[in-house]
Symmetry: C2
Subunit: 288 residues, 2 copies
């Protein structure tokens, strides 16, 4: 297996050229889960990485105002805030609390200048997964006006079906797109993370159908063998995903925004950041 | 969460009644992985379970002729043989070996009187998963005539997308059905295992589309939390799957054949069979 997959585009179009620089690279903060926001921003500045995806538990560590100041002082772009969502719950009161939290997440994204709030929609509180899906739709309906007013796009991220019982009842790009299409395209879109969608026989056709709705594109790799599916992500090129072909499909669908690297992996987390970021840049150029 | 999920059928049809007996229950041998074929057949006879799904590594342990004699002497029906498939490989020579092995698997199923050979189609040998899918189609094309001659139906089993890199490039019921539809419906069908397909937003509509193509229906449950996705199956009622609703969808699609219980789970494997089988029967009646 070679480091970069051979792209195939209906047998005729040439493969997309590799990136020549890292202008579109964004470090999703989950890739450096052990570090503070300040340390991540400093490291990105040192290594010429122009943008970051910020997680809310890291914002909570510093406080929002400090986080906003750190980002501004670093001259860094924020590609997204992770995560809103988690709409389904057993009681109306709990669901209302989730709505309140999502409104706060939109405010945080707006304050940080992030164009997108990533939605991890949440699992079902019981066996009725279709009811949970209706709660997700209802929840998005409750926050969409606030998102539009704050100029924050809601990016529905379908998670891998292995997470259906614990993290997201929305499991495919198709399902996320059909849900997004119930709302204004300027406010509700879809985040395509290759780790979650690569296995889908329709993935390239589905990315094409997401044209005008893409709100994010995340990369990592699927390692083999897989034991713990949550922590099974690897650095681009270390797994089985046809990254360049998927990137090309996203570009054909109009995606010209940042490409976030999001890796949940203990080994990656233990790697010193001044080793990790050069490797990440190298693999971004070679494999994505 | 109650033991049995509430069925929902377009808001009008009544829920399907529970089974009154275990006439349609079949023990897939993987549920009792530590036991020999002889011990499994003896236990099923003791507990009034009328049929078994037999795995080929267990046939290999006894030899085919002995296995055939054991099944005949026990008066047991064989609902399926697991498994053929594993078609994709890096070289033509390897792929030919897989074909030869599949032809042998068909002969074993025929000798045991099994109406179905379950196909676990296999992973891609490299990053090109679409090429692997073409190898699967080619492989089925190579064995379908032999299967028809031996009166063994080939049942394409889509595996959960978590197994896409290591066990099957065919990951959804839709994908399996579209593949099956390239062949004669009398010889190539689809095996629906709830563990692999429950998360799919279209699962009930897809089961309906499989009418005339269903070659098997397997039950277990999806446990929470999930760590190792291979060994995460549980006894029916212990997890989050809406089993009765899925069984109803299968029946509406015409499935009136055996329902195999297939559980990969260390705790289940360690349970004495005279404890396990009564529990399995109880849960089959209560939850399926």
């Amino acid at each position: 297996m070679t480091a970069a997959a051979t792209p195939k585009v209906g047998g005729i179009a040439p493969p997309p050229p590799p990136f020549r620089d890292v202008a579109r690279l964004s470090l999703n903060q989950m890739t450096t889960d052990r570090l503070s926001l300040r340390d991540v921003l400093d490291a990105c500045a040192r290594h010429g990485i122009p943008s970051v995806g910020i997680w809310r538990h890291k914002i909570a560590e510093t406080g929002l105002d400090t986080a906003v100041g750190l980002v501004r002082d670093a001259g860094m772009k924020v590609s997204s805030v992770c995560r809103g969502g988690m709409f389904p719950a057993a009681t109306r009161q709990e669901r209302e609390q989730r709505i309140t939290d999502n409104l706060r997440a939109i405010d945080e994204a707006a304050a940080l200048g992030a164009p997108v709030l990533v939605l991890v929609c949440g699992p079902s509180p019981d066996r009725d997964i279709d009811a949970a899906r209706r709660m997700v739709e209802e929840g998005i309906g409750r926050i969409v006006t606030h998102a539009a007013e704050r100029h924050v796009m809601l990016g529905i991220e379908p998670l891998h079906p292995a997470f259906a019982a614990e993290r997201s009842c929305i499991t495919t790009l198709r399902e996320a797109r059909l849900l997004a299409e119930k709302f204004d395209a300027r406010t509700v879109g879809v985040v395509a993370d290759v780790y979650h969608i690569w296995w889908d026989a329709d993935v390239h056709e589905e990315i094409a159908r997401c044209a005008g709705r893409l709100a994010g594109f995340h990369v990592s790799d699927w390692l083999v063998p897989c034991k713990d599916v949550l922590m099974n992500r690897g650095m681009m090129g270390d797994g089985v995903i046809e990254l360049r072909r998927l990137r090309e499909s996203a570009e054909r669908a109009g995606w010209d925004g940042p490409i976030e690297v999001e890796i949940f992996n203990e080994t990656v987390w233990k790697t010193p950041i001044d080793v990790l970021l050069p490797l990440m840049k190298e693999r971004f150029l070679a494999c994505v």
